[in-house]
Amino acid sequence: MTTPLETHGLTRENLLAIDYFLRLTRTLEERLVALFRQAKVIGGLYRSLGQEGESVAAAYALDYKQGDVVQPLIRNMGSILVAGAKPSDIIKQYMAKGDSPTRGRELNIHFGHPDRDGFIGQISMLGDMIPVMAGITLAGRMQKRNLVGMAFIGDGASSTGAFYEGMNFATVQRLPLVVILENNGYAYSTPTAKQSAVKTLADKAHAFGCASEVVDGNDVLATYAAAKRAVDRARAGEGVTLIEVKTFRIKGHAEHDNQSYVPIQLIEEWSAKDPVVQFEKALVDAGLAATPDFDAIQARVRSEVDTATDEAERSPMPRAEEAALGLFAGDGYWGEG
């Protein structure tokens, strides 16, 4: 007895691919937590537990062969895995290794070149990436490439001036930009009610004049569909869409945060709506997949994460002599001519 499932044009192969990315995100992050607790990851660690669904689903709506670019925040590792980021690169970044994509200069998932990689790492000044993504899509239009940009932003970051300036500029310029506003209820310890008097953050679209939508971020397929609609609109020249995805972070702000400020029942309520569990159940109910599929995916994911870990652990730390290099072009540090 199967329950019919609207897959929005996704094939079984696509759906299993999404499941692969969901499990890869979760397993890789679990490995990173273990490494963190073994003092091998340096600095902070920020999990996306509970938010893997919207990260993967939204990013899956882009067409990287067309040059589309995704910009994650710290809780969107799944999105850059979809874009093609390598788990070993991510682990090397977290372990501050000398052969990480940023050669030890930047941390966690702050890496990626929009043109070469299809994704670009953020900077810590939240909101700044919206104008930058606007510029990336502007360049795509000038270069007559039909590329779409997708920027993630948090409920807290949507309070920044850079967010407003970037959204306003992108909308009035009618740029092909999809903005995923992840409302997970908290910005570190600040609940959204203290962040903004606006009840539905998607309504901020009215300030810019762009389209908007609200979607259940823990419903993988619904999120994918909303993102796909927005991507198609952007590619058709219809401009910016602000999509508010409602979701929740199960593990607090970071590994060093015990989120004592979050009511326990909220955590329990959202834990019962785990996006991966819900997604797999929907596939099984629809007869599109079964446990052996997921086991096989998990085994593959586990093996990839192990291999990536081994590679990263073997990598050297950066050399101190390199600290002064690579500020400007000319010393060839980054391999430029």
Partner: protein, 485 residues
């Protein structure tokens, strides 16, 4: 190779963690990532997974123990290693060790070997004998705030009384980095030069001018040593870079006493040699009858004493010399490789022997003074020389020098020229001797006060004939005794 399990850093500012509970015991097999122990930190509690698969061989940090981040808390023997091969259990690291352990702070009691004195000492002058202070150094007042000045710029260091002197002295003796560099390269003592900059600072132009024309800015050092009075004068100017002859060496014998040379002595050594290397020294000697001026001296010395002047032979000699220099200006000159400078002024240096050395104060414009004036000047300069009250102006600008090697009874001397002058007159002892006097009636023997004058002159510029004519003129002036007192 055993694998360490370490206390992780659960957050940027976390420095330590406490072992709450071990989930495995030594000898247990563990899988990679399997929870191994529970810890507690300031921010968060966590389960710590095993870093590798293998056997837990030893627990180093016990339950309840707090250790610093990165401290080894347990060891795992990797798969394939003998489970029993473990190092003897080490005591856990000291509790609450800050990580990384800082180097121990220096004990508070250990005094710094180079602790500066509590108050800034006044600047040390470079010459061993303190140079005479310049007259009335301008006090270092802070600049008055002007309307156009920076509001935040009004703070200049407020000098204390002590600092006023030391800032001026610092400027005079240490000048600027550039001038120090030039001085060091050319072996010049800055403190012996006269400067045209603030506080009498020697500027770049001053020292460069000096090096080209040593007399222009130089003040001959007042502190030229010679242990004995009446030693040969020739306080040559401070060393212009002259070629140095190779030093002679000798081995000290048994019982010899070795003393380091004082700065003063070193300078004299340099200057004496320098003068000899610069000028072509020739000495011409004249015997002069001082009887007539001796009579004048005896007749007037009491009256002079009442007027505060001790009357000696010297003023008469100076007047004669001054007249002679007027007539033979080439002897009142200086020279370099390509030109001769005839000095307009007649500034006669008078060598004064001191306990600690020799000094040559200068009677400026000696041609403008009469005997009384000269007498007073000589007395004054001599007195101030002995009491160290000469100013740099007193000892510079001389164009000709007179010295007195006869003071201890010697016949005459062969003095060394006082650079950059070209001649120096040594006055020997005045002695009564029988001499032949030619009269109309024939030759007779008379007792006369005789003095031998020796002129050392620089034969580069002055030929013997000129020198002798000059000396003959002086002799005739002195012997004629036509001096107005």
């Amino acid at each position: 190779m055993p694998i360490d399990v370490v206390m992780p850093q659960m957050g940027e500012s976390i420095a330590e963690g406490t072992v709450v509970k071990w989930l495995k015991k030594p000898g247990d097999k563990v899988e990679r990532d399997e929870p191994l122990l529970e810890i507690s930190t300031d921010k968060v509690d966590a389960e710590i997974p095993a870093p590798a698969s293998g056997t837990l061989t030893e627990i180093i940090a016990q339950e309840g123990q707090t250790v610093g981040v990165n401290t080894v808390v347990a060891r795992i023997a990797g798969e394939g290693e003998a489970a029993g091969a473990s190092a003897p259990a080490q005591p856990a690291a000291a509790p609450a060790q800050p990580a990384p352990p800082a180097t121990a702070p220096a004990p508070a009691s250990a005094p710094s070997a180079t602790a500066p004195p509590a108050s800034a000492p006044p600047a040390q002058a470079q010459a061993p004998a303190p140079p005479p202070k310049p007259a009335a150094p301008a006090p270092q007042a802070p600049p008055a705030p002007k309307p156009a000045e920076q509001p935040s710029n009004a703070t200049t260091p407020q000098p204390s009384e002590e600092n006023i002197t030391s800032l001026d002295e610092r400027r005079r003796t240490k000048s600027s980095p550039l001038v120090r560099k030039i001085a060091q390269e050319n072996n010049v003592d800055i403190s012996r030069l006269q400067g045209s900059g603030v506080s009498g600072r020697v500027t770049k132009n001053d020292i460069l001018d000096y090096l080209q024309q040593p007399e222009a800015a130089a003040a001959p050092s007042p502190a030229l040593a010679s242990g004995n009075e009446g030693g040969h004068p020739a306080p040559a100017e401070s060393a212009v870079a002259a070629p140095r002859p190779p030093a002679m060496t000798f081995a000290p014998g048994e019982g010899d006493r070795i003393e380091p040379l004082s700065m003063m002595r070193k300078k004299i050594a340099q200057h004496m040699v320098l003068s000899k290397q610069t000028s072509a020294h020739v000495t011409t000697v004249f015997e002069v009858d001082f009887t007539n001026i001796d009579k004048l001296r005896r007749r007037h010395k009491d009256a002079y004493a009442e007027r505060g002047a001790k009357l000696t032979f010297l003023p008469f000699v100076i007047q004669a010399v001054v007249q002679g220099l007027r007539e033979f200006p080439v002897i009142n000159a200086s020279m370099d490789e390509s030109s001769v400078t005839y000095h307009r002024d007649l500034n006669i240096g008078i060598a004064v022997a001191l306990e600690w050395g020799l000094i040559v104060p200068v009677v400026k414009n000696a041609d403008e003074k009469n005997i009384l004036g000269l007498s007073k000047s000589i007395n004054d300069l001599g007195e101030r020389a002995r009491t160290k009250k000469l100013s740099p102006d007193d000892v510079q600008g001389g164009t000709f020098t007179i010295t007195n090697p006869g003071i201890y009874g010697g016949l005459f001397g062969t003095p060394i020229i006082n650079q950059p002058q070209v001649a120096i007159l040594g006055v020997g002892g005045v002695k009564k001797r029988p001499v032949v006097v030619e009269t109309k009636e024939g030759d007779v023997i008379a007792i006369r006060s005789m003095c031998i004058l020796a002129l050392t002159f620089d034969h580069r510029l002055i030929d013997g004939a000129v020198a002798d004519q000059f000396m003959a003129r002086i002799r005739s002036l002195i012997e004629a005794g036509q001096f107005t007192l």
